[in-house]
Amino acid sequence: MEDFLYFFTFQDPSITWVVMGITLLGIGSAYVGTFSFLDKKALLGDAISHAVLPGICLGFVLAGEKDPRYIVTGAFLSGALATFLSSWLKQNTKLSEDSIIASILSIFFGIGIVALTALQKSGNPEIAGLNSFIFGNAIGIAEADLFLYGGLSLAILLVLSLFLKEFRLMVFDPGFGKAIGFPMKGIRFIFNVLLILAVVIGIQAIGVVLMAALLITPGAAARFWTDRLQPLLLLAAFFSILSGILGTYVSFVVPQMPTGPWVVVFLSLIALISFIFSPKSGIIKRFIARRSYLNKTHRDHLMKALFKAREVNQGSMTLEEIYALYPFHKKEIAHSLQLLTRQGLVIQDSQGVQLSSLGTSDAMRIVRLHRLWEVYLNEFMNIAPDHVHESAEQMEHLLTPELEALLEQRLNYPALDPHQETIPRESHDL
């Protein structure tokens, strides 16, 4: 407990530094790793991280000590050589990609281990530190080294956010990217450089053997929770930071404990939890679905009110008028208003609140669904016009575009609902 407090209250500035380093490293590798996971290139990351070992040894030999600049450069170069070799072999032989990657991984790692063993026999006292590159030791990183690793992480983040659109294209549809004249080969090259850098910055904290887990697992775990790229990246970064810090904590508390394996243990735990509780498996899903359904109903109601104001030729509504309509849901409506404004569906100015052109078509759809459902209940289920509103009030949030098309077809595109109000379809229906 004492250790826990000591660690997490950051009294020790060196702990603060390490945690900051791990955080930057976690974000960088999670971002890059998520892209290569989506690109189905997870194996390549694993090969690169094993392949940097000979370069680490070479850097050590050249510097004669554990100089991080030499080691990072050596690691980067041997990672780059492995990447280049694997794409060259793929282009110029008929070997399958996974056998190429597996051979490169084992050959480079084998050479690395041989070199490491030879160095250990050489009797250089500095050699002890070199072992930490196998399984990682976050606590052992010197402050000066942290600046190098942290700086590289920042550079990765910067380049990634600059190239977000290009990397998205590279993963989803590189052929289209090439067709519109983007230099896809160059973009792939930059991505590979980032991937190697992401491995290199992690080798001291996590170690070459397990670095691939830090690249791939956060994205894979986050994929259980979301279907959108941006939230996916953020969540992956969060998972990565969390397990990075926890792993560092364990290796701080237990002497001689390497960091990498513990980071992986926590990552696996997160992945397992994601697998069990994710929206796709349904436990938390229902809770979230209900929340987001309720939020959607509030937004829909607000847009409907604004649309109806337009229908009676009242340009915009004041906030008071809106709140008066929903006296029991002021807070929710205020929140919805904020969200809709941010999405560009609603415009607020000095005169009040009104729909944007984008918002108008969304709102029109809600009103259309409402009125179509009323017609359906009235015509096909023989329910009296004054009894159809309640059900339509619920169905308007639920009906899918497919059902809408079906309704339109069955009802033969009716012009009016049972209350003689226009069913809006084009903007001139306003």
């Binding site: 989506l38 189905k40 983007f182 790229l229 996916l232 984008l358 575009p401």
Partner: protein
């Protein structure tokens, strides 16, 4: 039956294309007029996709060249729009329908610039044109095959180009939608755009195309619909195997080098 036109939008000059060893397009030489809806017809494996990909510069031809708007491709890239076959991408990628259509604006945006309100509006309009507005926020993996195809068409529309190349855009699209989109393409042609469509249904090809290209490893015909959609030429395109060409291809494949390459 190959009609050449003066001042063509697209000129394909003596194009031969090979994969590894074997050639799949032999000496295709054609020119196309502006402002027309043009069909590319031919059996499976005829080289239709290969022709489109070579025009887009995605495949390096073995010999011959292509000029668009009388210029080489790199000068006019932003004026050309491309719809690949739907199977060419992974639809499990985390993106919404709108995200994919916005990609159509990337070409004009160029590198590094992020899409903004204007690009989103262009994408929304394109979605509206293919009748997919209501799906704009949906995850792309949750679309049916025909809907995915329509998303690709919308992405092409969002490119706001002058020449459209579409590789089987109607595969898996229902009849009503096909007709509606064909009419949209006709309107675009009338507005001066040139639209090339790889298509498999001879019946609707008869109805909608003004100009047809018929392909089966070599160019069988290229010209106004009335002149080329004859029984004889159709039989030449689809009927029987092109025994000789296929055998020559096999022969070349057995060599250790490609004798057609210069």
């Amino acid at each position: 039956m190959i009609t050449q036109v003066p001042h063509p939008v697209l000129e394909v000059h003596d194009l031969t294309v090979s994969y590894d060893q074997h050639p799949v397009l032999w000496n295709v030489d054609l020119s196309l007029p502006a402002g027309q809806l043009i069909g590319i017809l031919g059996p499976n494996g005829a080289g239709k996709s290969t022709l489109i990909k070579s025009i887009m510069g995605l495949i390096q031809p073995t010999s011959g060249y292509i000029k668009i708007f009388d210029k080489p491709l790199p000068d006019v890239r932003s004026r050309i729009s491309y719809v690949p076959q739907r199977e060419s991408v992974d639809w499990n990628f985390p993106a919404s329908v709108l995200d994919v259509v916005v990609m159509g604006t990337y070409g004009k945006l160029g590198l590094f610039r992020r899409p903004g309100k204007k690009e989103v509006q262009i994408a929304q309009d394109a979605l509206d044109q293919v009748g997919m507005m209501a799906y704009s926020k949906r995850q792309i993996s949750e679309l049916s095959g025909g809907q995915q195809q329509r998303v690709f068409i919308a992405r092409a529309l969002a490119q706001q180009a002058d020449l459209y190349l579409m590789d089987e855009p109607f595969a898996g699209v229902d009849m009503a939608t096909e007709t509606a989109i064909f009419q949209l393409l006709q309107d675009m042609a009338r507005a001066g755009k040139t639209v090339l469509v790889v298509h498999h249904d001879i019946h609707s090809a008869m109805n909608f195309f003004e100009w047809c290209i018929m392909l089966n490893l070599h160019l069988v015909a290229s010209g106004p619909k009335d002149q080329v959609m004859t029984e004889e030429l159709l039989r030449k395109t689809y009927g029987g195997k092109l025994n000789l060409l296929t055998q020559v291809t096999d022969l070349i494949r057995k060599q250790d080098f490609n004798p057609l390459k210069r």
